[in-house]
């Protein structure tokens, strides 16, 4: 049989996952990436004696050998898992508030104890919410283990908790179960991972996201997320695929509502019947395909989506171990109040932020940086608007000022931090835009509001025959585990078109 040709545009997590699965299932894959290295956001960069992780704080869905999660299974299903080393992170997160600091471990019971230790009078509510989340998570796993149409038809009966969570924001559930606003804040403190405060984020996202961390524990990758991306490339190449770096897609060619290939940045034309775009759908439709060739209904759907958060990062190489300045854990969420909506609103300016994360990469990997040093990163949520409005000649001053303010603010909690910075790099939404091509430098594609929740998101099937999307912008959404899953979904859609529904079942990873 002649191998079918597939082109993947963009070597982000979604694109690489689709490319790995396609190349293992009989496709001749060509993956085109603009940057000199693969990974999109999943990459690292070197400054002096330090190597920095560009994005990954905590990888969800990995789990220990006896309790593997969905992310691990998807990586194992395409041969990537064996090529990377996963490093467990001891705790889920540490929250710092004006009047208490508490560390939330992973594991359902341990987490419940930790929440209840601060709010003993609300133990019953805490137990109810965690139980609900756990049930929802189990139902999703159940669904992915479904054996046939009957299981699916009966799902609304078996999957009652998931079904009932549809259309709810996190706040609607949390407000019902918790009284103290401080508990609400603590319980939802990692909302930044999902890009919206509880009042706006789909409950499914917060519940299932946190469940994945609680059930399997957070992980990091030995050698940074670039090691994960390099492993993907190795798998794709081992299976006969070609990875074209420094060579993006300039245009997607179409003929009568069907894609036929691409024109690459090198000027070459590459034909293909199947194109998976990891380049975001907005750029793909407006720049690569041309709006005139895209159905108006699809453009409307694109216009309806809201672009999710970007980030402001201060990457720091310290000339001392992180413990020396009191940074002991991996992930600290620092809050200056309990008002999450106010914290969210603050990201629309370039001013000092009241909600930020301090990450210590040496905690899970003592060899992360040279002996006696450490790598610590400050992350704030940030909207692109404020940053793109800064005049170019003010840009450096503006990012230097905010970096200074965030270092000073962090120094209050970790005295000495500011005096130990040997190497420093600052990134803004504009930096994210530049390296990923994502509108607004969004790290999660469209917002995870109710309309952007996994079910309501744009599907993996694109608006033209032979066009599919993988990546944060489409189902199920942004983040490492989810973007990887989007690649699996896109692959599934291709297989459906090639072999029908039965073909896909054989090729898909067992996620349950």
């Amino acid at each position: 049989m002649k191998a079918r040709r597939a082109i993947v545009i963009g070597a982000g997590l979604g694109g690489m996952t689709a490319a790995a699965y396609l190349s293992r299932n009989g496709f001749r894959v060509d993956m085109f990436e603009r940057n000199p290295h693969p990974g999109g956001y999943a990459c690292s960069f070197v400054r002096g004696q330090f190597e920095f992780e560009a994005s990954l704080h905590e990888l969800s869905g990995v789990g220990p050998e006896d309790n593997r999660g969905g992310c691990y299974k998807m990586l194992a299903g395409c041969g990537v898992a064996d090529k990377v080393e996963f490093l467990p992170i001891d705790q889920f997160y540490t929250s710092i508030y004006p009047d208490f600091t508490v560390t939330i471990p992973h594991g359902w019971e341990a987490a419940e104890e930790a929440y209840a230790s601060v709010f003993p009078e609300e133990r019953a509510g805490i137990h109810r919410v965690l139980t609900l989340m756990r049930k929802m998570y189990e139902e999703v796993s159940l669904l992915s283990k479904a054996k046939g149409p009957l299981d699916l038809v009966s799902f609304p009966v078996k999957g009652t908790h998931i079904m009932r969570s549809v259309g709810l924001t996190a706040a609607q559930v949390i407000d019902r179960e918790f009284k103290d606003p401080k508990l609400k804040a603590l319980f939802c403190d990692v909302w930044g991972y999902y890009g919206l405060p509880p009042s706006r984020v789909a409950w499914q996202i917060l519940a299932l996201g946190n469940s994945s961390y609680l059930e399997h524990g957070p992980y990091h990758v030995k050698g940074t997320s670039q090691a994960l991306s390099n492993a993907f490339v190795e798998v794709i190449e081992e299976n006969g695929g070609r990875v074209h770096l420094r060579n993006g897609a300039r245009r997607i060619l179409t003929d009568g509502g069907k894609v036929t290939g691409i024109v690459a940045d090198d000027g070459g034309t590459y034909p293909a019947d199947y194109i998976v775009s990891n380049a975001n759908p907005i750029t793909a439709c407006y720049q690569l395909i041309g709006r005139d060739n895209v159905p108006a209904s699809y453009l409307k759907a694109l216009a309806e989506g809201h672009i999710a958060i970007s980030t402001f990062n201060v990457y720091m190489g310290l000339d001392c171990p992180a413990e020396e300045v009191g940074i002991l854990n991996h992930e600290y969420f620092i809050n200056e109040s309990y008002d999450m909506d106010e914290h969210y609103q603050a990201m629309f300016s370039t001013h000092r932020q009241p909600y930020w994360v301090v990450t210590n990469y040496n905690s899970s990997d003592p060899e992360f940086s040279p002996p006696g040093t450490s790598v610590v990163v400050i992350t704030c949520i940030a909207d692109h608007g404020a940053w793109t409005r800064v005049p170019p000649d003010r840009y450096v001053d503006e990012k230097t000022r905010l970096a200074h303010e965030m270092i000073e603010a962090s120094d209050v909690h970790f005295p000495g931090l500011a005096d130990h910075i040997a190497v420093l790099e600052v990134s803004t939404p504009v930096t994210n835009m530049r390296y990923s091509g994502n509108p607004g430098g969004s790290i999660l594609g469209f917002d995870f509001d109710l309309l952007g929740s996994p079910l309501m998101r744009l599907p993996n099937r694109g608006p033209l025959e032979g066009l599919y999307f993988a990546g944060a912008w489409v189902r199920p959404g942004g983040g490492f585990e989810t973007s990887i899953q989007s690649g699996v979904f896109a692959f599934g859609e291709v297989m459906k078109d090639v072999k029908g529904i039965k073909g896909i079942a054989r090729a898909m990873p067992a996620l349950g």
Binding site: R47, Q226, Y286, P439
Partner: protein, 390 residues
């Protein structure tokens, strides 16, 4: 048969419920979250330009061997840059498409043009061409600004010591001119080593600034002084530097110059007790003689010839061990994108599939790239036959 298309199946079943939900749910998110979909490239280009055409508007003879080229981007505003950064000039010399990095010597406070100041290196492929052949009105492609050799107010002190050697004075020129233009009160002590008086670039301007501004001091050090010269003589060793620097307390050191100077300055600053974190060095580019660099396999002569095979292509080329792979590729008409040509930026990253190369210490290849056999060809020297994937 297991059916595991999770998202899809939930979707199909819940669509009805969601349609209802969609109606009830009204959006509350501010309009500012919206973006013009077509605007992304423009928004980024305002700050980060990859390549722009530029015209040589003016050429200034600085010394017998050195010229300043004033470049004006054609048809677009000048990119912002930080004093100390370099840009890369892309050009064709003798039919070979290549590039070189040059520090910007003008300050960002100047509107509309940037200067690079180039010293003709004996046998230099590009520098000799620039200094001898280029005339006003010629056009090049230039990169946006690159590199990390700038004062970072967040971690550097306000008391700077510049150690410059030869054409390495250029980034400092941008920094000093900026300090003057902005009337900044940062303290600058520049110690500038040259061979002869004739070699000193920007002599008049530096002398004037040194006299006029209290916070800026310029000390010349000549290694081949004329008879009766009364200034400081010698190399930038600890003996010379100690009295010129005085106390090292609270000072940040910047070093830029020819290869040989880095070794010397490392040694002298260590002798004076300067901690490594207070020293910044500009990327150096390929050394004049790679076989003198630590770790080079002694048994291999620089003119030994090896075969380089390009994976997935038909090309096979013969190259000399002593030349960076990137240069050899270019000489053979094989294009590979690049920027710093110092191993620092990763733009030229390529896969080494078979064979071995020598990469000097300090080339910024990340750990997983090392493990997976990726190299930066601008600072990689073949020491066997090799196959690379570009």
């Amino acid at each position: 048969m297991a059916l595991r298309d999770l998202g899809d199946s939930i979707f199909d079943m819940t669509q009805i419920g969601l349609l209802v939900g969609k109606k009830i749910y009204s959006r509350s998110i501010a309009d500012e979250r919206d973006i013009d979909p077509a605007a992304v490239p423009e928004l980024v280009a305002g700050l980060h330009q990859e390549r722009v055409p530029a015209v040589v508007a003016e050429i200034i003879q600085e010394t017998p061997t050195t010229k300043t080229f004033r470049l004006v981007p054609a048809g677009m505003p000048l990119f912002p840059f930080r004093p100390g950064q370099f840009l890369t000039l892309f050009l064709t010399v003798d039919g070979v498409r290549t590039s070189r990095a040059y520090s910007i010597s003008s300050p960002p406070t100047r509107i509309g043009s940037v200067d690079v100041t180039v010293r003709g290196v004996p046998d230099g492929f590009v520098s000799a061409y620039l200094v001898d052949e280029v005339v006003e009105g010629d056009e090049f492609e230039i990169s946006g600004p690159g590199g990390f050799f700038y004062a970072e107010p967040l971690i550097d002190t306000n008391d700077l010591v510049f150690l410059a050697g030869g054409s390495g004075v250029t980034p400092f020129m941008s920094m000093i001119r900026t300090a003057v233009d902005l009337r900044s009160n940062v303290r600058i002590n520049m110690i500038y080593g040259s061979r002869t008086v004739d070699d000193v670039i920007f002599l008049d301007e530096l002398t004037r600034i040194g006299l006029e501004y209290e916070n800026i001091n310029v000390a010349l050090v000549l290694s081949e002084p004329p008879d009766g010269y009364e200034g400081v003589c010698g190399l930038l060793d600890a003996h010379t530097l100690d009295p010129l620097i005085g106390s090292i307390e609270g000072k940040t050191f910047f070093v830029c110059g020819p290869q040989a100077m880095y070794g010397l300055c490392d040694e002298s600053l260590a002798t004076l007790g300067v901690p490594a974190r207070s020293i910044k060095k500009e990327a150096a580019g390929p050394p004049p003689d790679i076989t003198m660099v630590e770790g080079w396999p002694r048994e291999i002569a620089p003119d030994e010839v090896f075969t380089v095979k390009i994976a997935d292509g038909r090309q096979r080329i013969q190259v000399a061990a002593g030349e960076p792979l990137l240069n050899s590729l270019e000489r053979n008409g094989i294009a590979l994108d690049n920027l710093c040509r110092s191993g620092e930026c990763g733009v030229c990253r390529a896969g080494l599939l078979t064979g071995r190369v020598f990469m000097p210490a300090g080339v910024a290849v990340c750990k997983t790239d090392l493990a997976h056999g990726y190299i930066h060809p601008c600072m990689s020297y073949p020491i066997s036959d090799v196959t690379i994937r570009l």
